[in-house]
Amino acid sequence: MDRAARVKRPPPGLVTAVGVGVALIGAAVVVGIVSGESRLAAAVAAFGGVVIGVGVVSWGRTSHHEHDHEPRETKGPRFGRRTTLAAAATATVAVGVAVVPAISRLGEATRRLRSTAWSAGTPVVDAAGERVRLASIDVGDLVNVYPRGWVGDADSQAIVIRTDPARLAPSVDGPLAAEFGVVAYSKLCTHMACPLGLYEQQSGTLLCPCHQALFDVLANGEVLRGPADRPLPRLPLDVEADGLLVARGDFTDAVGTGFWGRP
């Protein structure tokens, strides 16, 4: 029997559904372009599509034949040892080709990860690029700072915190710590390099918004709670005769997330 002849005549309901659906879509597109109400128009058009879709599916369901079948033949390539080896070889070559340029950049890339734009004598500026004066930081303050000329730089960003010197752990060294209670750290979490945002002044802790690592800024940036496992690198600071802050060198450790080749 000719299979085409087995298609039942579309039921009147389907004809109506297609008519309504097409009308809805057409009207919605025109109205959407003219009026700019594109979301409403798209929703109406989608409703039209659903109406047609339901109609077509139910037509298909009414014209289907229970348990149709044909003899089984399975064709195509077999997944034998040879295919496996060929696939493994191709994957190895592909990975190898991708790794060669990566290795050629390894030295340079690692050097860049290890260092930031800070060095001895670099002036400390705030997010607006203005130099930071020691006297303008009050006890309880947190200031986001950058090396001069590098405002917005992702891995050089640091935070300067001023607290009561008596609250700092005895092990916290540096010329500004004991006298003024001023300490500075990398702003990047040592877990995944997210910028530390939430400073709780009362407990002297910094919280990472990404995975909730907690650091103690009163005790050399030690980790109080995981998932970080390394203290925050410190930025050694000094104050010039005119009261302006400068760095005494780069951070005490590579900033941010751990990486292969971190010193």
Binding site: S38, H64, D68, R112, A154, M192, R262
Partner: protein
């Protein structure tokens, strides 16, 4: 006289008579395919207007709260698509929803194949291709999330960069290639664009073509006994049954995705704001199919290891090794199962999950474990809503990661056994009834 129809390839001439599956669970793969079609169509529209440039400009578009804010051209172009192009917001949201549904349909489809043993010979190659497709889809989602260069997308890129640099030996070099140098170099957007719009879609398209070709040649599995399945393919014919149903399904998938794009807000980059290296969104959760890796990062113990004076940082274990291990298990499963059971024959009958209690239990346990990880991906929100300290939530999740898979696996195993035993008992009763009546 030879007509045009006679010149068509054999496969095409056979198509109306070919037998296609009838069971509804076989539609999941089709939903994935149709979502991919929606992704390509909406993606063409989006890439027409998208500008993969990291150059910083001032936003002066119609969205008032951000007027005067500095942002990359990439961000501004996506804002312009959303607020100024005809149907732009709908197309962008439809694209995002289609990606969410695409991966979901792939995962559900893989579950159907797994729990019915449809990955066994002669469909092992196709299972392999399917797992590769799942990985490619997830990877493309990652790059797609990064493209608008909003604060959430940029945070995702930051996590990806941390994973890359953590790889032993080659990590910093790989990160340098992929992210155009150190993190937050806006030149990386151009590379993401190439990967998201050209490289990965081509790879997905090629793998998908091979996957579908193999389904066509190998035929589908069916819920009959093995002897019947070996001799004949059961289902419904290509024309009219299957053609009509699949056309209807295509219309439904397209329409539902457009309806979602038109009415359900997703990835509101105007609320997140442009990327800023000094900021991160709170809370920050990726799309669901990357959420399990996020959960692993949050609750698994940090485990940096020193090897020969070199540090392997903990993100390598949670972010690189763990996902890799999941994919290796998936790829190896059909081969491992064939070796362990000694069953290397061809199978065409779809098994009922209850008839393979060990496989079913292991599958359920694995899914339960991934689900716990996925939930842990938003443990900060849960701590906030339940007013519980975050440390306690982390500890709870560590316990759940051990307990939930064990419980879920045992329950699944017991359920399988109970179902088969019930059937055996019913069979015995029927047999004894027949004996009595005789």
């Amino acid at each position: 006289m030879t007509t045009l129809a006679d010149r068509l390839p054999e496969a095409v001439r056979h198509a109306p008579h070919k037998i296609f599956p009838r069971h509804a669970s076989f539609l999941l793969g089709e939903i994935a395919l149709l979502s991919f079609a929606v992704l390509v169509l909406t993606g063409l529209y989006l890439t027409w207007f998208y500008d993969a440039s990291g150059e910083v400009v001032t936003y002066d578009g119609p969205y008032e709260p951000l007027q005067g804010v500095e942002a990359t051209r990439a961000y501004v172009s996506v804002m312009s698509i959303t607020f100024e192009r005809p149907f732009g917001a709908v197309v962008r949201q439809t694209h995002h929803w289609a990606a969410v549904v695409f991966v979901a349909a792939i995962v559900l489809h893989a579950m159907r194949v797994f729990f019915t043993g449809a990955f066994r010979r002669p469909r092992r190659l196709n299972w392999t291709l399917g797992v590769v497709l799942m990985g490619l889809a997830m990877a493309n989602g990652f790059f797609g999330l990064a493209l608008p260069n909003d604060l959430l997308g940029g945070t995702g890129t930051r996590i990806g960069h941390a994973f890359a640099v953590s790889i032993p030996v080659v990590g910093p070099g790989v990160a340098d290639l992929l992210f155009a140098g150190e993190f937050a170099n806006p030149d990386a957007l151009h590379r993401f664009w190439l990967l998201h719009v050209i490289v990965l879609p081509l790879l997905i398209g090629a793998t998908l073509a091979a996957h579908l070709g193999l389904v066509w040649m190998r035929t589908h599995t069916q819920f009959t006994d093995e002897a019947t399945a070996q001799s004949r393919v059961e289902g419904s014919s290509g024309w009219p049954d299957y053609a009509l149903k699949t056309t209807g399904l295509a219309l439904l998938v397209f329409s539902v995705l457009v309806a979602m794009g038109a009415t359900l807000q997703i990835a509101p980059i105007w609320l997140y704001g442009p990327f800023d290296p000094a900021a991160a969104t709170v809370p920050a959760q990726p799309d669901w199919y990357l959420g399990w890796v996020e959960g692993a990062l949050r609750v698994l113990p940090n485990a940096s290891v020193i090897v020969g004076g070199y540090e392997i940082p903990s993100p390598f274990f949670t972010g690189v090794l763990l996902p890799l291990a999941v994919f290796v298990v998936l790829l190896a499963w059909p081969f491992a199962e064939a070796r362990l059971t000694g069953d290397r024959g061809d199978h065409h009958a779809a098994e009922r999950p209850r008839d393979r209690p060990v496989r079913t239990a292991l599958g359920v346990a694995g899914l339960a474990w991934l689900t716990v990880l996925l939930m842990a991906g938003s443990h900060d929100l849960q701590a906030f809503l339940l007013r519980v300290p975050i440390g306690e939530v982390t500890t709870t999740y560590r316990v759940l990661l051990v307990v939930v898979p064990l419980v879920a696996g045992s329950v699944a195993w017991s359920a399988c056994r109970a179902l088969t035993r019930g059937e055996e008992r019913a069979e015995q009763n029927r047999a004894s009834d027949e004996e009595l009546t005789r």
